[in-house]
Structures are given as C-alpha cells and as structure tokens.
C-alpha cells in the first residue's frame, strides 16, 4: 500500500485513499468546507490545498489519491507522496482561500445562528489573517430566503460549497437545489417551482459549514454556547437515530443527528428532529391521580400508593390486559415483567405495533415506535401492525396502558369502539408521560417521565442497542416506569430493585444474555450491535 508522509508522520494508506481521509484518520488537521464523507468529492472550496512535494502547484487534499510510485521514483527514497500542511506554500494557499471566502461575507457573526459552531470562524481563527484588505462594497445577495418550510437561506453568508445541493441530489435523491447565477453572484436556489421540502431537509442545515442555511425552528432561539447538550436516541421510529438534544433552561431547543455509521450515518429525518417543537404542546400532569364520580383528584405519591392499592384490590382478580409500548425502554419492560409476576398475577402484556407511512430507502421506518425490537428480545409479545385494540381488551375487566394513547392515536373510525371497550373496564390504569385522551378515561393515572427525561436502553430494528439519556430533569413526581414499579412493589410489600436505572439495567442484562459481560460504558457513545435478531 502507498506510503504517505504528512509533515513528520508516516501513514500507510489504503487503496484509493485521498490525502484528506488519510490525514483525518491520523489526526492531522487539514481544513476543508466542501468535502463531506457522505457526499461526492467536488474540490470546489479549495480550502484543503496542500503542498505535495514535486507537484508544480498545491493540490486539493480531498481529491488527490495517494498512488504507488515505482521503487526508483519514490520521494525521499521511500515515500509515494510527501505532503506538508505547514509549509509556506500550504499556509499561503490556506490564507488566500480564507481571504477570498471572507471578501463578500457579511461578517455578521454577532447575530448569526451559526456563530460558535461556524467553520468560517474556526478556520479564520486558526488559518486566517486578522485584517481584511478588501476595501470595496461587498456584493449583496438575497437574505432570509424561505428555501423550504424548515430552512432559511442567506445568500451573503453562503460560501457555495454545494454540500446542501449534493445532499439533495445524492442522499435524498430529490434534487431540489442547484447553483444559480455565475461568478461572485452565484447562489444556491431551489429549482423554479420547487422548495427544499423533503423528509430530511434540515440535514442541509447540519452540514452547512457556515450560517447560510439555518433552521426555521431554531434560528434566533439561543446562542449555541449557552446550550446544554446530551447524547440520546430518537424515539420516533424503529430506526432509533443517534441524536443530540440541545437544551436551554429546561426546554429542548433542537435535536440534531449524531454520526453513527451503523444506525443513521450522519442524518435524521425532519419528523424526528421536530419532536423538539411537538414537546412544547404535550399536556402534562405531574402528579398521580385517581378519578371518582366527583372527578379527578391528584395526590403525592406517598398519598397515592395506599389509595391506589386499595382500588386495585377492589377490582379483585378480574382478567387483566396490559397494553405496552415500544416507547418503553428495555428497563421499563423488565420492570413490567417483574410487576406482572409479583403484583398482577402474570398477564404477559402486548406491545402495540403502531405503524404509519412506509419505510423509505434512507432512514424512516413505518414502525413508529423505537423499541419494539427490544420488546421482542425481552419476550414481550408485539401486536399485529396497527391492531384492533378492542380485540386485546376483549374479555378483560382490568387494563393497564403504558406509554400509549390508544384513543388519541386511533383512526377516527375505530375510536368509538375503543372508547366503549375502555368504559367497560372495571379498572383502567394509564401510565404515561402525557395526560392524553386515554388518560382522561382512566380510573388511575400515573405520570411518567418522557423519553428524553430518563435513562434507558433501546434496541432498533437492526438489533442495535443504544442508551438514552436524561436530557432534562422532570419534576420528581414524573419518573421512569421502572421507578414507578419499584415504588409500587415496595408499597405492596414486595422486594424490588432499587437505585433506578443501573439496577434495572442489571435486570435487562439477565434477560438479554449477550449483555451479561457488558457494562454501561460499552454502550457509549454509539451503542452496541447485538449479534442475532430475536426470532
């Protein structure tokens, strides 16, 4: 394999490898804008120009492949290529490209959303000149262009790296975008009559190295350096994309994808990303409640458990239905199984397989729940797709529904039958993160923490296990289902794992043999591929 030398470092390159990829995997910094590992190489920005020994001019590291030289032609006697990232030729190329890029850039960093995570800022700091020599009026270009429903374009900040264009033509294959005009007036535009409107459109904002494309939902919300971030998993379909939640003062301001080659690559869908907006409208009840003829009464948990257990006993041993959810983590599922065995008389429970739309070629899965694969692995039955809930309730007198809104999510036509079936229950317990239409029909409501408010593990449709994070701290009375179960069993005089997530993860390990020799540390940051998909 060709031997490459960059500065003082020798690198054994792989077949067909470019200077840039060899440098990146060896921890050598070469600045670049238009290059993206998931997109075609265009060599347009010229930021990655480096001096190659023997070449008449600097070459773009992103597009120059290191090839073998015959033994008598080796550079310095042994190398197939010798690159310098610090020589005067390289530095001059870097400085001048940055100078060119900033000529007509508005330098409106103080009011730019990208500030703090902007590659123009980063490279100017590292490679640029402190002063501008451009003493002319800058070229003006369209600003605040609503290029798509979720994306706003600023033609003045744009450096024409074409990452967004290539994303739309190569990744989503929707091809909405193009360069328009010429020379210094070049712009990114949607084709006439089109909008940047595809299920992954906001990914263009992620890959935009500057502030040219901003997210309509996030722009002007907060300076990024004030955000608190936590790595987690998207709950919105069985892909379970690796994501990062960015929060500020208790609100989720944005959700962005994390690179995970085995799960989502670099991308996530707009639906999953815009969960941050939907979270604003979730109707929450922070305390457990019991409904009587006089209506709902809400209690603290200390008051609640005796009242609840009494109510449970009153319902006797009538047949029990448990409707579970792929929105439960593995730990919550383990907790349900223990609860079922010790306090409910052993109903096995069924996780509802809620689907919608179709699988696409990129990420989106029609299975709209993140952890159904986990349910299968935990030995919990998964229903038919969009099954008739009334069939599961048939012949049952008591029911518990966890993390599902069977009424609100039901199609209009089925809803009356479901409502009727729920009304016939002697005891209906609903545990969930939101006070939904189903919860309103319950006799007992137990609030739970939302997906992003708890730690847990989840398995995607490929059998990839990842850990979710407690991105935000919910009120103490909203807690994960496993904590509820611990308290429930304790109140019933049973023994239960204590200590929250780690204790329940230990229970999960018992149920999933493959995890037995793994620690939590093994799950970070990208999770763990379980070897076999459960039958």
């Amino acid at each position: 394999m060709p031997l490459l030398k960059i500065d003082d470092q020798e690198i054994e390159t792989k077949a067909g490898e470019t200077i840039l990829s060899a440098a990146l995997r060896s921890g050598i910094a070469i600045p670049y804008y238009c290059y993206h590992p998931a997109l075609s190489v265009v060599g347009q920005c010229r930021m990655c120009l480096v001096e190659v020994k023997g070449a008449p001019k600097p070459l773009t590291a992103c597009s120059t492949v290191v090839t073998s030289l015959p033994p008598d032609k080796k550079v310095d006697g042994k190398y197939d290529m010798v690159v310098s990232t610090k020589s005067e030729i390289t530095r001059r190329a870097q400085r001048s490209v940055l100078e060119f890029l900033l000529l007509n850039h508005p330098l409106d960093c103080p009011i730019c959303d990208q500030a703090g995570e902007c590659q123009l800022q980063e490279y100017s700091y590292t490679y640029g000149d402190p002063a501008s020599r451009f003493d002319f009026e800058k070229v003006h270009a369209p600003k605040r262009v609503e290029i798509g429903p979720h994306v706003v374009y600023d033609g003045e900040r744009c450096i024409k790296c074409t990452r967004c264009i290539r994303f739309c033509s190569e990744v989503t294959k929707t091809g909405e975008l193009t360069l328009a005009e010429r020379g210094v007036h070049t712009l990114v535009e949607a084709f006439p009559g089109r909008k940047l409107d595809n299920p992954y459109s906001v990914c263009t904002v992620d890959i935009c190295p500057v502030g040219a494309l901003t997210s309509r939902e996030f722009r002007f919300k907060e300076r990024v350096w004030f955000l608190q971030s936590a790595n987690s998993v998207c709950p919105e379909c069985s892909r379970g994309c690796s994501v990062r939640y960015d929060t500020y003062k208790g609100d989720v301001l944005r959700i962005v994808p994390r690179e995970n080659p085995e799960v989502n690559g670099f991308w996530m869908c707009d639906h999953g990303r815009l969960l941050s907006e939907r979270l604003k409208d979730v109707p929450r009840r922070d305390r457990p409640g019991i409904r009587t003829e006089k209506g709902w009464a809400f209690y603290s948990f200390e008051e609640f458990w005796p009242l609840f257990l009494k109510r449970l006993q009153a319902a006797g041993n009538a047949p029990f239905a448990a409707l579970l959810s792929g929105r439960m983590t593995l730990e919550e599922m383990a907790a349900y199984k223990l609860l079922s065995a010790k306090a409910l008389g052993g109903p096995s429970g069924t996780a509802l397989n809620v689907t919608g739309g179709a699988d696409d070629e990129l990420l989106i899965r029609r299975e709209r729940r993140a952890n159904l694969q986990g349910a299968r692995r935990m030995g919990i039955a998964v229903s038919e797709e969009n099954c008739d809930v009334t069939a599961l309730l048939k012949g049952k007198r008591r029911a518990m529904i966890v993390r599902e809104d069977v009424v609100g999510d039901a199609p209009e036509a089925r809803r009356p039958a479901i409502i009727k079936a729920l009304r016939e229950m002697e005891l209906l317990v609903v545990a969930g993160e939101a006070f939904t239409a189903t919860a309103e029909m319950a006799h007992v409501y137990i609030p739970l923490s939302a997906w992003h408010e708890m730690e847990g593990t989840t398995v995607n449709f490929l059998g990839h296990l990842q850990k979710t994070a407690r991105v935000l701290l919910p009120p103490r009375s909203r807690r994960p289902f496993y904590d509820v179960v611990s308290a429930w069993l304790k109140a019933s005089g049973e023994e239960a794992p204590e200590g929250g997530f780690p204790a329940w993860f230990a229970e999960v390990k018992k149920a999933v043999p493959e995890l037995s020799n793994k620690s939590l540390r093994d799950l970070l940051p990208r999770g763990l591929k379980l070897s076999e998909v459960a039958p």
Binding site: Q44, F100, F136, T178, V184
Partner: protein, 436 residues
C-alpha cells in the same frame, strides 16, 4: 516575409465552398477513404502521433497522445469499449475567431478529420458542440453532416469499413466556461456548465460518463492533411515546437485584421507589419496579446519572436489560441485590463473560491485605478491576487484571468502607477469611467 499557407483555409473565398461536391472536387474525403480502406486504426493513430499535431484550442496538448488515452479493446473483450469524440466549437476566447472561419467556409474538412479520428479511436460518434452565438455556423455544419450521411460518410458501416459513426450537432448557450472541456461536457448533458474536477480525465470519464476525447475544431481540420500528406510533410511546416499550418486571427489596431494561415516560424512582427499591414493610422505599436486574451501581454519591443511555443516562451508568453490582439499607443492599458477583468469576472462559473472571488476583486481594483481612485499599493495587490488565483482553481479560467492581470501590471507598471499618482488616465484629459 513568409507566404500565407493555403492548407486549412484553401476553401476560403471559393464559391459554394460548404457543399460536399465542392469539397470532394478539391480532393476532399480522400484522406478519409485512405484511412478507412488502407490503414488500420493504429496506423492512423501512429501517423497523427508522429506528426506531433498539437491541440489548437489553446493548451497545445499533443492530439495523437490524447487519442491514445482512450480505452482500447483488449484481448478477450467481445466488443470495442464505448467511447465518444467531442469537437469543441465553443470558440469564445476574446480575440479568437479562427474556428468560425473554418466552420462557415469548410465544414467538410472538419467533418473528415472527425471521421478519421473516429476510425483511429474506434469511437461511436462525435458531439459537435458549437457556441450559441454562431447560429449560422451551426446551420452550415448541420447541413454538412446531413450531406455526409447521404453519401454514406457517416452512419452505419461507413464505406464498408465496419465503422459505425455518428455526428450530433449541439448548440451551447453562450457561456465562455463551456469551452472548458469538462464544463462543455456538463453542458452537453444538460447540466449547469461548470468544470469537473480532474482526475478523472475525459478519456476515462467523459460525456455521460463514457470515455471521451475532445479536440478543437482546427485540430480536427488538420487531420485529413496529415493522413493525405504524411507526418513528415506536416512536421516540415513551421517551428518544431508547434508544427503544421496554424491559423492566426489578428484584430485590433492593424490595417488588415483577419485570419492568416501561417507556419509557426513566422514572427509576430511579420504578422503585424507584413500580413496585417501595420498599425492603424501609422501610429506606434504599444502592446500585443499573442494568443487570445488569457495569454500574457507583450510590449512593442518583444515582437521579434516566432509564434511557436519556444519563441513565445522566450518572452514569457504562449501561443494559446492564436488570437493576436494588437493595441497601438492610444490604448490605455489600465482600461484594456479592466475590460478583460470584467469579462473574466462575468464568465467565472462561481464554483471554486479563488476564481469566483478573485476575478471580482481584480475587476474592482483595476476599475478603481481606471476611475482615478487607485491607491498606492494597488498594482502590487493586483499581482498578489493574481498569484493567489494562479494554479489554485479547478479549471484554467482562474489562470486565464490571472495571467493578463499579472502581465499587464508587470509590463506596464509605470502606466498603472501614473494613473494612481495623478488620479487620472494620462491618455485622456479627464478620468474615464465608461466601458470601451
């Protein structure tokens, strides 16, 4: 003074020269028949290689060598790998108008060269990409193509040789950048005309991803003569570093502007003062751009050089496209450069940074000097910006803009400095701001 040649331009002035019968009456298509009937593709390729025919588009790359880069049928292959030829008729370099003369006066000569090249390379056809502003040329060439089909010189199994070869005439939309070979291919495919990054080169990945060979109109036009008269005959014409007949289009302040077919051993002085009849109005010569606007400019004292590669190299410039632009003493070099910089800034495709931003900056700087608002250090800055564009871009347009900028301020530094110091154009009483 060397006589003008009558090889490529022999049909110019001949009545009805574009008709296939006129062309054949003068011996046309004989070279094609020789090639197809008496020579193997490799023999044709060998002859063109031996002739050292250099590309006439501006870069001067040896044509035979370029042809040989196309993939060949290897042992065990069932059929010839699919490949295309492209004829670059997007002539748009300022000061260059030689291809147009050939297209409009002798289209069959070009066509014959293309078919011979098709035989040598075993290509399936040729895209004739003609500049949008040449509707007449496109019409004439299309008629020539139709005539060639009707005689069986194009199409299936040409003259029983087994060669299936088509020619498609495609019109550009008038962008200078589409004369760059890969931008031309993008444009052919219906995409935005912007150059591709190389490698892969067209010989590996050309039109629609098919291996392609692209040559200039004049290059193809030379091919029938090489086949007919042999490589040795061809090499005997002109200087060794640029053999064969060459078209020089001379424009500007000369008494007889036009296209002259000359051996490259002719000097610039002979062309300007001999063939072109000297400087208009009997004034003094000031500057010459020897090979299209992209080539470095020469001062009046530098014209005693032959117009081949070596001769022009000795004064720091190059033959380029053969478009000679002559400027007399009345020309303000700042204004002339501003005109060129406007052109390149306007024609930059905008994809890569140094050219997109740099050409615009150069236009502004030169324009400011011309307007009497130049600042000390501006000429040095022009040279530095040109240096920062040179060799840093995907395609040669960046270099094409940088070379005149650098050479104008180097060759005519005093004139630029006078503009800056006196805050006016010394050639005019008042500062000029309007375009030429």
């Amino acid at each position: 003074m060397a006589e003008t040649l009558k090889i490529l331009t022999r049909a110019v002035g001949v009545q009805n020269s574009t008709a296939i019968d006129t062309y054949m009456h003068g011996g046309g298509y004989e070279a094609m028949m020789t090639a197809l009937h008496k020579m193997s593709p490799d023999q044709v390729l060998g002859e063109v290689k031996a002739s050292n025919l250099k590309g006439r588009g501006g870069a001067g790359f040896p044509a035979g060598l370029k042809w040989s880069f196309l993939p060949k049928k290897r042992e065990g292959d069932k059929q010839e790998p699919r490949k295309f030829l492209v004829c670059n008729a997007d002539e748009s370099e300022p000061g260059t108008f030689k291809d147009r003369l050939l297209i409009e006066n002798d289209p069959h000569q070009i066509l014959e060269g293309i078919v011979i090249a098709g035989w040598a390379t075993q290509a399936v056809g040729c895209f004739f990409y003609i500049r949008g502003e040449m509707p007449q040329g496109a019409k004439i060439f299309q008629r020539a193509v139709d005539q060639a089909y009707s005689r069986g010189f194009l199409g299936k199994n040409i003259l029983g040789s087994g060669l299936d070869f088509d020619v498609w005439v495609c019109r550009g939309a008038g962008a200078y950048i589409c004369g760059e070979e890969t931008a031309l291919m993008e444009s052919l495919e219906g995409k935005r005309g912007q150059p591709r990054i190389k490698p892969p080169f067209p010989a590996g990945y050309g039109v629609y991803g098919v291996p392609s060979n692209i040559n200039n109109v004049e290059t193809y036009a030379n091919v029938p003569h090489i086949i007919k008269n042999g490589a040795e005959w061809f090499k005997a014409i002109g200087a060794p570093s640029l053999p064969g007949p060459r078209l020089y289009g001379i424009s500007g302040h000369v008494n007889r502007p036009g296209v002259y077919e000359l051996p490259s051993s002719t000097t610039l002085r002979e062309l300007i003062y001999g063939h072109a009849g000297g400087i208009l109005g009997g004034r003094a010569l000031k500057a010459v751009i020897p090979g299209g606007s992209s080539t470095p400019v020469l001062r009046a004292g530098q014209i005693d050089v032959t117009m081949d590669v070596d001769g022009l190299k000795s004064v720091g410039t190059m033959p380029g496209s053969g478009g000679v632009i002559v400027m007399n003493e009345t020309v303000c070099m700042v204004r002339a450069l501003h005109n060129l910089m406007e052109f390149y800034a306007h024609e930059s495709c905008g994809q890569c940074t140094p050219c997109r931003e740099g050409t615009h900056w150069l236009e502004l700087l030169v324009g400011r000097i011309e307007a009497g608002e130049g600042r000390p250090g501006d000429t040095e800055r022009i040279a530095e910006i040109a240096g920062n564009i040179m060799g840093r871009t995907i395609c040669p347009l960046g270099d094409a803009a940088a070379m005149p900028a650098e050479s104008f301020v180097r060759q005519f530094k005093d004139e630029f400095e006078t503009h800056i110091k006196e805050k006016r154009c010394p050639l005019k009483a008042a500062p000029m701001t309007s375009r030429i």
